[in-house]
């Protein structure tokens, strides 16, 4: 019996009788991070990182939450459990599970590069590693964050020169906060869509340190003059909606790893495209996997068959695992619907 089994409810540790990121309601769920395809509604008990708790409260309401700091240990039915930074979004954690001298790590979503907000990815030595593969193709290779931010700022300045507002499309949780870092230098109010603003407030209320900016929610009452040439952050769901009319004339910029491929940029029909991702790129994934020194690598959501085959050819035992987390294909579609991610 392997320490973590792949069941139709999610990743299951039989010895500890708990699940990791289950997609069906269970008694005891350990949550890697607060995105909705990993943190579902309806579990009896939740265990997550301290910083994840307020995000879950914002999304799922009040539940039976229990928290851990990174590297803090807890025994569940004799199984040793600890959380380690995954670098994906605020609070995102890898789950380390140890029992009978065997160590498994479920990484959830992760990125190796430090974004300055989410905590720096920590390689955890293990026997078996469960990895995502959202961008598990060698065409994905991220530029460093500062370079992308510089492009974004230049894009905003160019928009202002043409008297246009700049609407930046970013997930409310994760991407939106990173974008704030890029905007810190602009000495002006950053306007936000309601969904973005609510998340922003939830983070502030939870005392999570965010870039220092003055954020304001856009409401039907916000006078149009104030929005001239302004900077706006909005979730993917707002793209293409009548809500945008208020800002006219405007340019739209999308922030997503998918923007590395021209076809995606053209399909989304955006004016600015920034390949800013919260997932590991090809080299990031490979690098993380090697550092775990895992003998077995289970590949989940993304390009799992490709990535797993490559690992096997490189001499790393690997198998693909079907989960209900955002798949390679789904995520592209999901970018248009906020509730997915």
């Amino acid at each position: 019996m392997q320490l973590i089994e792949f069941t139709d409810k999610g990743l299951f540790c039989r010895a500890g009788n708990f699940y990791i990121d289950p997609w069906k309601p269970v008694d005891y769920a350990i949550i890697t991070h607060a995105h909705s395809d990993h943190a579902k509604f309806g579990n009896e008990n939740y265990l997550c990182h301290t910083l994840t708790k307020p995000l879950l409260q914002a999304r799922l309401g009040n539940n039976n939450y229990e928290t851990l700091e990174w590297n803090e240990t807890k025994f569940i039915n004799g199984v040793k459990v600890s959380l380690h930074p995954a670098g994906h979004i605020i609070g995102s954690s890898q789950i380390r599970v140890e029992h009978n001298n065997e160590v498994w790590v479920a990484s959830g979503d992760y990125k190796v590069a430090n974004d300055g907000l989410s905590g720096e990815f920590e390689p955890v030595k293990c026997n078996a590693f469960i990895t995502e593969s959202t961008f598990g193709l060698p065409i994905y290779c991220w530029k460093n964050q500062e370079e992308i931010f510089e492009n974004m700022r230049n894009w905003i300045l160019a928009n202002k020169a043409l008297n246009k507002a700049s609407i930046i499309i970013a997930y409310s949780l994760g991407k939106a906060q990173r974008v704030l870092k890029a905007l810190e230098d602009f000495d002006e109010t950053i306007y936000m869509h309601g969904a973005t603003y609510n998340m922003h407030q939830a983070l502030i209320n939870a005392n999570i340190p965010l870039p220092k900016i003055n954020a304001e929610r856009v409401t039907p009452e916000t006078p149009k003059e104030k929005l001239k040439e302004c900077i706006v952050i909005a979730p993917p769901g707002a793209d293409g909606s009548p809500w945008l009319k208020k800002f006219s004339p405007y340019a739209i910029g999308a922030c997503s790893g998918w923007m590395q491929v021209r076809g995606n940029v053209r399909r989304k029909n955006v004016d600015g495209a920034f390949a800013l991702s919260d997932h590991g790129d090809w080299n990031g994934l490979l690098c993380a996997i090697k550092e775990t020194q895992a003998e077995k690598v289970y590949v989940t959501h993304g390009y799992q068959s490709v990535f797993s085959r490559y690992l096997n050819e490189q001499g790393i035992w690997s198998a693909e695992v079907k989960t209900e987390y955002g798949t390679e294909d789904k995520e592209v579609v999901a970018e248009t619907s906020e509730e997915k991610k």
Partner: protein, 560 residues
Amino acid sequence: MLTAKDEHIIIDESSQQDAKDGMALFSELVTSLGSATKTLEKQDALINYFSLADDKDKVWMIALFSGRRPRRLINSSLLPQWCIEIRNIPGWLFSECYGSVGDMAETIALLLPEATEEKKQSSLSYYIEKLVSLEKENEFIKKDFITGCWRTMNKDERFVFNKLLTGNFRIGVSQKQMVNALAKTVKREPSVIAHRISGNWDPITTSFDELLNENVSIIDYSKPYPFYLAYALEENPETLGDANEWQAEWKWDGIRGEIIKRNNQLFVWSRGEELMTEKFPEYYILQNKLPEGVALDGEIISLTNANVETNEFTILPFALLQTRIGRKNVTAKQLKESPVGFVAYDLLEFEGEDFRNKTLEERRIILEKIIADANEPVLRLSPIINYNNWDELAATRATSRDINAEGIMLKRKASIYQVGRKVGDWWKWKIDPLTIDAVMIYAAKGSGRRSTLYTDYTFAVKDDNKLIPFTKAYSGLTDKEFAQVDAFVKRNSLEKFGPVRTVKPELVFEIAFEGIAASKRHKSGVALRFPRIKRWRKDKKTDEINTLDDLKKMLEVYGK
């Protein structure tokens, strides 16, 4: 990723400082054209390029954007091979990447490592002409040059460079848009520019001034006039006003062509500006029969039984013409089995004089005389359809399929011959397409902006309890519908064959098409002309779709 607006800023800065090298400028143009979402932004990017690039590069840019790519210099399997070598990845992984990106040039550009060497300032013309000069060299010399270039280029430049090497330059801008921007830059009429850059010219030996200067001594006798293209008439023809002001003809189902005789030579051009003289030996005789200095606009079409006395002739199905278009050399057998004629409907030049500013009525009188004088079965006049009112014409239109026509053309009698697609004077009033209800059974990812979505579908009709695939269709759904079908495909895949997925036969669509012909190559025994999705029949179930027998009946009625 840069955008149109970045370009303005960056280029403005660089023009003040040191000039950008030609390749960087060109790749920025391509990038901004690719991401510009509005026509005006594209126009700005083009004008910007024309005002900053050097003359030689502009000539090449015009050549590339009007489909004059230098001949393919590299065997298309070599570039991926070199890329695989440099990146050190297995071949299958390259294929997976290509499947995901949907474009060879871009796949390679994304896979190659970051530039490691300084680029010496190099123009677009330098790269292209260097490549042309290497044409006869062996593979190793070519590899040395190309991989050397890769090492000095950023991702966007490599993409453009690879495009030069691999294939068609479809970058989201039409020739018309390019012509308009160029006309604005050099302050000339777009129609003049369009004519100047059409025809036979070699970007290596032609300078920017020669290309645009009317008085240049080098005469290209073959140079065609750009076609005037009609818009589809969506409204009732009564919206066009007085029926007497309009000339009606059949809308012929062939390919648009222009026959030119100048300097006692005959030239045949097709739409898309391809010189096709050699493909149609039937027309050779016209060299002796047409007067000097003449350009005819008309339809290259399969026809037989032509009678020069009565101007009667029989049009054959488009499928026959198709067997001729793709071939380089035409065999005697083909000439016999799929004879081609020319149905003329307009006169663009007469006695060496540009006739386009005369009215259609004036042009028609001389056209009729030229065709009568030539007295050749192969050259036919597109007859004028007589009618007294719109209702009468509508009744005639309903008979279009009987003579293998696609509907009716309406041309304003007083109109001049314009350039490109213009609203107002020419309308195509097509008959409603044929339709059939079918179920989707296979799906593959699209290309370009659809490369991440399953948008290419194969459809089947039923034959007893079997499903028989009979056509593919790529267009007709909205982006939202494509996303829904895409999600369905991903959830309901049965098997995967390379890029193609077999899907649960559940989604029913109404397929529209313009014609149907018998085909031995297809399992269903039929081939459709211009199939597309008319609508998603969410109200229908798989057992309600049409049958193979229905298709065969259509073939019986419309396929002869």
